[in-house]
Symmetry: C2
Subunit: 292 residues, 2 copies
Amino acid sequence: MTIQNVAVVGGTHGNELTGIYLLNRWGKYPEKIERSSFSTNLFVGNPKAIEQNRRFIDEDLNRCFTLASLKSNEKATYESLRASYLNQIIGPKGASAHDVVFDMHTSTSNCGVMLILMDDNKFNLRLAAYIQSQMPEAKIYFIPPSQTDQPYLNSICANSLAVEIGPIPQGVLRSDVTALTEGVVYHGLDYIQSLNMNMEPPIPASVEVFEFKESVSFPMTDGVVSGYIHHSLQDSDYQALGAGDPLFECLDGSVIRYDGPETVYPVFVNEAAYYYKNLAMSLCVKKSLRTD
Amino acid sequence: MTIQNVAVVGGTHGNELTGIYLLNRWGKYPEKIERSSFSTNLFVGNPKAIEQNRRFIDEDLNRCFTLASLKSNEKATYESLRASYLNQIIGPKGASAHDVVFDMHTSTSNCGVMLILMDDNKFNLRLAAYIQSQMPEAKIYFIPPSQTDQPYLNSICANSLAVEIGPIPQGVLRSDVTALTEGVVYHGLDYIQSLNMNMEPPIPASVEVFEFKESVSFPMTDGVVSGYIHHSLQDSDYQALGAGDPLFECLDGSVIRYDGPETVYPVFVNEAAYYYKNLAMSLCVKKSLRTD
């Protein structure tokens, strides 16, 4: 397989400024993302949300890319229209003009460098494994597909990587987070270049991934959130959580503890973007996936 | 002077959840803010902005409290109407039903615990000095009044304190920031109680303050922001800045340096709430103010 066109997307969420800034920089200085064997093309995700410094206008753009939704004639929301447009210029999904897509995100959680896989496609796994070999602090987050027709922007292309870097507040640029995001994209482009040149570097035979298991909601009393992340859990993404470990501290001073049967690893702990859904964190299990 | 009524306000900015959460907690458990010699009353600043998780709907509520604006009959914005309402129930300004107001804010900058004085009223200075004696990490930020008719919510009462605590993303609650905010309010209430009982604790004869001197804008090229906070300045609130020290790193890789004649101290470095005004930080000079 030769990769001919790579899409790099920023601003899928309008208040995550890092990707938007990098598109601006690379638009002015394209040599940073140019590789001799393929074209790299830049795309802005959600311009209206960017203008308003909000995650989205009507609904989360990064959930609008099911084929069913893209083909629907009842596009009521700004994001569903925008998804159709992006699918036209990046895709179309299933027969895409691009071979790979990178989608750049940030998080308010202490997630560090997080490489997100929405399936165990070998290309994606090896791409993530390579980036991790260059940036050993990077963690791989694996969301097993819950449906064949996936809703993520990345699902436009079979080969894809989402990168999520934090902690950073929404609506802020930090040079450290910008530099890490650049690192991920540059290593990713380098890897594709090596593949095209038949010079793939050695890839570990397996990688450790944090596999999404379930979301945890904030505690509610009478329909109102009544407790928040316990101080011992704040900023502790990827730290093992066992039965009896604190999850939440409540308005009345009481503590809610994890009571699951197995050791889990919380990620996206206290992510601002999920408050509107009352989600406090995701729980993962650790797994090893073979890259060959 | 006996203090009879104290107002505590949260949610003046709708995406600063800490104060909103504390109002909720204290509404359920009022004993935490009750003191025997005065009443403490709780007020929500901007309910519509809270609902939408935004700083404000039309304009910054915390700039709507000039007498001129409060008396105007041309109230076009949600916040100017809300300011009139709050002035009625907390104030009215100049003849207020409350003797003291505390206004709780948070910042994305690494400001720590910041006690904000908008004048050098001795009560306010001594209140801040007392809180600082109990929380030695607290810094005092002094904004010399630039006009007699001030626009801040706190200007409803002659005696007032704004507290600003960070870093914390907008739209997030953290137990550490919540605990620090509680600490400031409880110490403040304790101080007022001590005054009413004629048992004022010893107060330092002078306090060090960071006096606001000027705002610094992000660099602009062709009307667009073209550089961001230099990595050495990020999170370095209150650190001395001298001629030649880096301020910004630009799209083209160049660095913009501070070229002022005197040592200054940046605060609100990379504050998300000021991006819409293109403000990157405030520069202060250090001063000592007498409390007697």
